[in-house]
């Protein structure tokens, strides 16, 4: 009965109701699209900053992180790698070894940080950064890929030879000759200036670190790891179970890089701030509509009261009107927002710098096209929030309606 009355009341001013509901629907659609865009960006960012940089779980010698000392390695690398690769909790496993060396071109020398990688595993990430030549071949062949700054300071290019000299782990003077197969633009100044990639097996030989690595970077099946993500924690436990704790440290990404965890936490909160601002403005719209509607009906409400309608019923009437208005807006918002989401998740969007360059962080580039991510809990939250705001904004008009003095109200023109 009250609902039917509220429904009819709303349609007495069809245009006003539609405009208000339309505005609310558009703001809800905007918020939904914003969530999808932000979650997409967030996932891209966490992929770049966590998956491709820190990994989800790291395995290294307990002292390595603090000292980066050459000799603090993880032993039995190939056996451990095979055991870890076999775990269902491990989506990807990246072995890494590094060491400073003196590099020499035909007549120029420069210090460089040699990064030993398994090209088959890291190809996907590193290959697209190659600006000249190609990336390392899968099999060790004494090939080297140089950061572009390093290639410049050594005055070498594709096909040239580079000698690497370093103090090996056994104290001997490790030295070897590599052929430059490519030059990369890594995106970070440090890696461009001194980074050089060689095959893991070649670097193990140069540094006299047979079957050793400095770290295993492990990816869990989690698509968007958050701090204390249960999926990552499962992988953490599984990896610990395989490698044990003797001489190795197994840490999660948020332990390995608390700064990254903090940074990603900040971007998560900003979505809610936007939601509050947009819906706050929307709430003012509802407040205005309901206040106007109550003022217009002063006479009519006075009559209702005089006929014995209790104040609580009037309050309910106005609130139900607001609720229906909110529901209409949510329906419209879902329809319009769904269209936006469809576009963002299928077509995607690009993140570029002002110069049109691809965006990168920590030397890892974002994908060319970032796809939006739709999360049901976000949609529910937005809908509930919008309905709540609509009803709350109607409280004051409703109370005004309930407090009308019937005699005064009926004299209103």
């Amino acid at each position: 009965m009250l609902t039917a009355m509220a429904w009819r009341n709303l349609w007495r001013h069809r245009r006003r109701t539609l405009i208000t509901a339309g505005a609310l629907a558009v703001s809800m659609a905007f918020v939904l699209a914003l969530f999808t865009y932000m979650d997409g960006t967030y996932r891209a960012m966490s992929t770049v900053m966590v998956d491709q940089t820190i990994g989800h779980v790291q395995v290294h010698h307990p002292g390595f992180q603090a000292t980066r000392s050459l000799r603090l390695t993880v032993a039995d690398a190939s056996a451990r790698r095979a055991a870890l690769d076999a775990l269902p909790e491990v989506r990807e496993l990246v072995p890494r070894l590094e060491g400073y060396a003196l590099l020499g071109g035909a007549d120029r020398t420069s210090g460089g940080l040699l990064l030993g990688v398994d090209p088959a595993v890291e190809r996907a990430q590193l290959e697209r950064r190659v600006v000249k030549g190609r990336f390392l071949a899968d099999a060790p062949a004494r090939e080297i890929v140089l950061g572009q700054g390093l290639a410049r300071s050594l005055a070498v290019g594709e096909g040239d030879e580079v000698v690497a000299v370093t103090q090996a782990a056994d104290g001997s003077l490790g030295n070897d000759l590599y052929r430059v197969v490519g030059v990369v633009a890594s995106g970070t100044v440090a890696q461009d200036r001194s980074g050089a990639w060689v095959h893991l097996a070649d670097l193990q030989e140069l540094l006299v670190l047979p079957d050793q690595v400095h770290s295993f970077v492990v990816l869990s099946p989690s698509l968007e790891p958050r701090v204390d993500d249960p999926v990552v924690n499962q992988t953490l436990a599984a990896v610990r179970g395989v490698v044990g704790s003797e001489g190795v440290d197994v840490v999660s990404w948020w332990e390995a890089s608390p700064q990254t965890a903090k940074l990603l936490g900040i971007s998560d909160g900003s979505a809610w701030i936007v939601l509050c601002v947009v819906f706050g403005v929307a709430g003012l719209g509802v407040l205005n509509t309901m206040l106007m509607s109550v003022f217009e009906r002063t006479r009519e409400l006075g009559v209702m009261k005089a006929l014995g309608t209790r104040p609580a019923v009037l309050v309910r009437l106005v609130l139900i009107e607001a609720l229906i208005l909110g529901l209409l807006s949510v329906a419209g918002g879902l329809a319009l927002g769904g269209l936006f989401d469809l576009y963002l998740t299928t077509k995607g969007f690009a993140l570029t710098t002002g110069d049109g360059d691809r965006l990168s962080t920590g030397g890892v580039f974002f994908d060319d096209v970032i796809r939006g991510v739709v999360k049901p809990e976000r949609i529910v939250a937005a809908a509930v929030f919008l309905l709540g705001v609509a009803v709350l904004s109607a409280v004051w008009p409703a109370v005004r309606a309930a407090r009308l003095d019937p005699v005064d109200a009926m004299q209103d023109r």
């Binding site: 003196l102 020398t109 000299v165 001997s172 070897d176």
Partner: protein, 223 residues
């Protein structure tokens, strides 16, 4: 005092010297012995060639004035050590490339103060505290050197700018070579790594050796 310092500087130098040296390096992670042959002319030119172990045999270091080149027989390449790596270890020892190059004249680069004399309070050596002159190309904040009454140095302590002891060098096993008193062994001990040291022992030492023309050239380095 300057005479004392000069004598200490020159204790293992001749106008032209030729030596066979063994070097023993002990670190927390490895211990290794090397054997090398060295030729020197004054303080400016030095050529060192590694004889043992087999893995490093033929690796040679040429020092002329402030420059160091390493020759690597395995890849047949000669590399000049860039300025940024002069502080790095030389051949895995506790000596740095700088130690080879900056064989500074103590009397020229430092201002000395005698803080102990032989016979004073039972001491047998001169103790001289050296503080670098303002523009001297040295890396230490302070050096304390002990020189015996016979002008042979026995101990040097090297401190950084903050006055913290960095390393200690001792000269031991003094013998008479060609009428001169020469310590045949030097031990360098880093202060921050207990148990580690580099010991250099002269197995043969010949002052006033005949060195062929072109000993200290890049061509000779490869030979």
């Amino acid at each position: 005092m300057e005479e004392l310092l000069d004598a200490a500087d020159d204790v293992q130098r001749g106008s032209r010297s030729h030596a066979t040296v063994s070097m023993h390096v002990k670190t927390a992670s490895y211990e290794r012995g090397m054997k090398m042959e060295s030729w020197a002319e004054g303080a400016d030119k030095t050529l060192i060639r590694i004889l043992e172990p087999a893995k490093d045999a033929g690796v040679a270091t040429l020092k002329v004035d402030d420059n160091i080149w390493n020759y690597l027989p395995k890849v047949d390449r000669t590399l000049k050590i860039p300025a940024g790596m002069m502080g790095g270890s030389w051949m895995g020892s506790h000596f740095t490339n700088d130690d080879l190059v900056k064989e500074s004249r103590m009397a020229e680069d430092y201002t000395g103060t005698i803080t102990g004399r032989p016979g004073q309070a039972g001491a047998t050596s001169w103790v001289i505290e050296l503080v670098p002159k303002p523009d001297a190309p040295v890396v230490w904040g302070k050096v304390e050197i002990h020189i015996g009454a016979d002008r042979v140095p026995s101990l040097a302590r090297y401190y950084d700018e903050k006055g913290v002891l960095v390393r200690t060098l001792t000269w031991e096993d003094v013998r008479v070579v060609a009428g001169r008193k020469v310590p045949m062994r030097m031990v360098l001990t880093p202060a921050d790594k207990p148990g580690e040291y580099t010991r250099i022992t002269y197995e043969s030492l010949d002052f006033d050796a005949q060195l062929p023309e072109g000993t200290f050239t890049l061509q000779a380095l490869k030979r």
